[in-house]
Amino acid sequence: MNAPRTPVSAPTWWDEFTTAGSSPNTAAARLHQGNILYIENVTVSFDGFRALNELTLYIETGELRCIIGPNGAGKSTMMDVITGKTRPDRGQAWFGSQLNLLKMSEPEIAEAGIGRKFQKPTVFEHLPVFTNLELAMRAPKGVWRSLVARLSGEARDRIEEILVLVGLAEQRDMRAGALSHGQKQWLEIGMLLMQEPQLLLIDEPVAGMTHQETERTAELLVALAGQRSVVVVEHDMEFVRSIAKRVTVLHEGSVLAEGSMAQVQDDPRVRQVYLGA
């Protein structure tokens, strides 16, 4: 587009979007950026069972997309393919128009700007909240660099900023293991944000949350979209309705319907397989 595209490890074209207060120039560029994720005809089989069946899906830059579907619809497998955990039998997966996800390892994909939140909150239980964020920070991740790494004032500020954003400023020195379930989920989202990802994949963020926590999470996710693309996989329809502009329904490994929540709900096929009405 507007800048030469470079290999993964070098500063990449989205860096300019990830910093707060990006210039009008880049904001304009973003509008024309188009899709950030292309999944085309992806098929994954496990022992003959087709977890994904010719799945084709595009995510726009800056979009907040909710993905719903009954158990076994292939939601988690799709996440696995995007993050490099599972290699598909067939198909294509591109991040932007230059990065072939199927040729990249998990850390490479993470480094390139895709962050993933697991269903079960996974944080570093024995490390303080602050350190959890520190480790997640976008920074050289090599062994030798880690031996001599020192936390700069700038990095410290960035961590404090995220602590406030996810509402854990008071818990900064607590062990992550001592946080409540909801707080762990937010910490994990905070860790994703420290990576300054361009695309966030979030698996069932409100499972097991209280009503207030769910609301707070909805606000957080809506606030995150725009600067980055956010893909949320969720079962809680109330929650999906409260945040989603566009919803994709997966069924038996491929897209059954796509559109606004209202459109999707009116779709007779969706009613049949998922809403059960």
Partner: protein, 358 residues
């Protein structure tokens, strides 16, 4: 806070080690045998042995307590370091052996070998042997870890492979054809760098060197743990997948911690051999490796000082019981392990300092 608690513990560790390094040799060499304050050479050597064990325990704590890699084969790295030292000491015997052969150790003459196997080349040189003390265990650990961690072998499967590794080495070193003295191992050492190994002054020097190695190893591990590397290592232990998705090459972190740990174990073995005067394949026994994991579990893993504490406590108990009630020792060891696991899963150190554990 955990950090200040660790600082206090570190001060105690360095203080005790300094006191040992000064007092024990002084009371051995400077105080007459008739005095009540005299420390016998036997006792000094015994404590020196414990110091080597403590360094070995430290190396296990680094990978197990912080990296979550339970090695049941760390005795192999210890033994390899010991063999490297033993081979140098064998070459130092020269013509003083039973057969008076300047070139070949006694057991090779006995086996009717005509020339030194290539594996022994260079070991007459002290610097070369010292290099091998860290290089051989380090290289083995690197190659082993390269395959194991890259294939994402973790947990109990990895533990079993480490056990197999040390068992395979045990069998290999038992064979005379290997050229490392078969089941007798290497012994009958005379001197080290020209100093008589039986002399009190040499023993005292080895003792002080053991203290220094332990203090150095401790400081090195502490620096490693306090660095971002250490935090990543703990992160890998707590949630390996999360660390991977954040962008850390988990296998590399494990690999280097593992390799460094093996080198520490090698140094411990090298200091152990001249003090006990023998190295044989028994050191590769899987039981040894399991026992040393128990030291760390009892002392408290994930604290560094807990490993030291555990090595001393369990080995003092072992010395006492194998002297007083030899047939009971294994039962005591088993009981201690079970009780510690049930009652104080974080070990002695964890019991006294719940906060300090990383």
């Amino acid at each position: 806070m955990a950090v200040t608690a660790n600082k206090r513990a570190d001060q105690v560790v360095y203080g005790v080690l300094l006191a040992l390094a000064v007092a024990v040799p002084a009371l051995n060499l400077g105080v007459g045998e008739s005095s009540a304050l005299h420390v016998s050479t036997y006792t000094m050597t015994l404590v020196g042995k414990y110091l080597c064990y403590a360094l070995l325990a430290l190396s296990v704590d680094l990978v197990w307590g912080f990296g979550g890699i339970l090695s049941l084969g760390h005795g192999a790295f210890f033994a390899l370091g010991g063999y490297a030292m033993g081979m140098h000491l064998m070459r130092q015997i020269g013509t003083r052996g039973v057969y008076g052969n300047a070139e070949l150790p006694d057991f090779m003459v006995f086996l009717n070998w005509k020339e030194l196997p290539w594996t022994w080349y260079g070991f007459d040189s002290f610097p070369f042997a010292m290099l091998m003390v860290v290089l051989v265990p380090g290289l083995l650990a690197f190659v082993f870890g390269w395959f194991a961690f890259r294939s994402r072998v973790t947990g109990v499967y990895l533990s079993i492979i480490t056990q197999a590794l040390t068992y395979a080495l045990l069998l290999a070193f038992f064979r005379n054809e290997m050229g490392f003295g078969g089941n007798n191992g290497l012994t009958d050492f005379k001197d080290i760098l020209g100093y008589d190994l039986q002399a009190d002054s040499t023993r005292a020097t080895l003792f002080v060197l053991s203290v220094l190695a332990l203090a150095g190893g401790y400081a090195g591990c502490r620096a490693l743990i306090d660095s971002k590397f250490g935090r990543v290592l703990v992160a890998v232990r707590d949630a390996e997948n999360r660390a991977r998705f954040i962008g850390y090459r988990v296998e590399n972190y494990k690999l280097w911690a593992w390799t460094f740990s093996a080198m520490l174990a090698g140094v411990a073995g090298a200091l152990y051999v001249p003090q006990v005067g023998i190295i044989n394949p028994g050191e590769f026994s899987p039981l040894n490796s399991i026992e040393l994991v128990i030291w760390v579990a009892v002392g408290g893993r994930g604290t560094l000082y807990g490993a030291l504490l555990g090595a001393f406590v369990v080995n003092f108990a072992k010395t006492f019981f194998t002297g007083a009630l030899p047939e009971l020792w294994l039962f005591v060891l088993g009981a201690v392990f079970v009780l510690v696991t049930l009652l104080i899963p974080q070990g002695i150190a964890g019991y006294f300092n719940r906060e300090a554990r990383a």
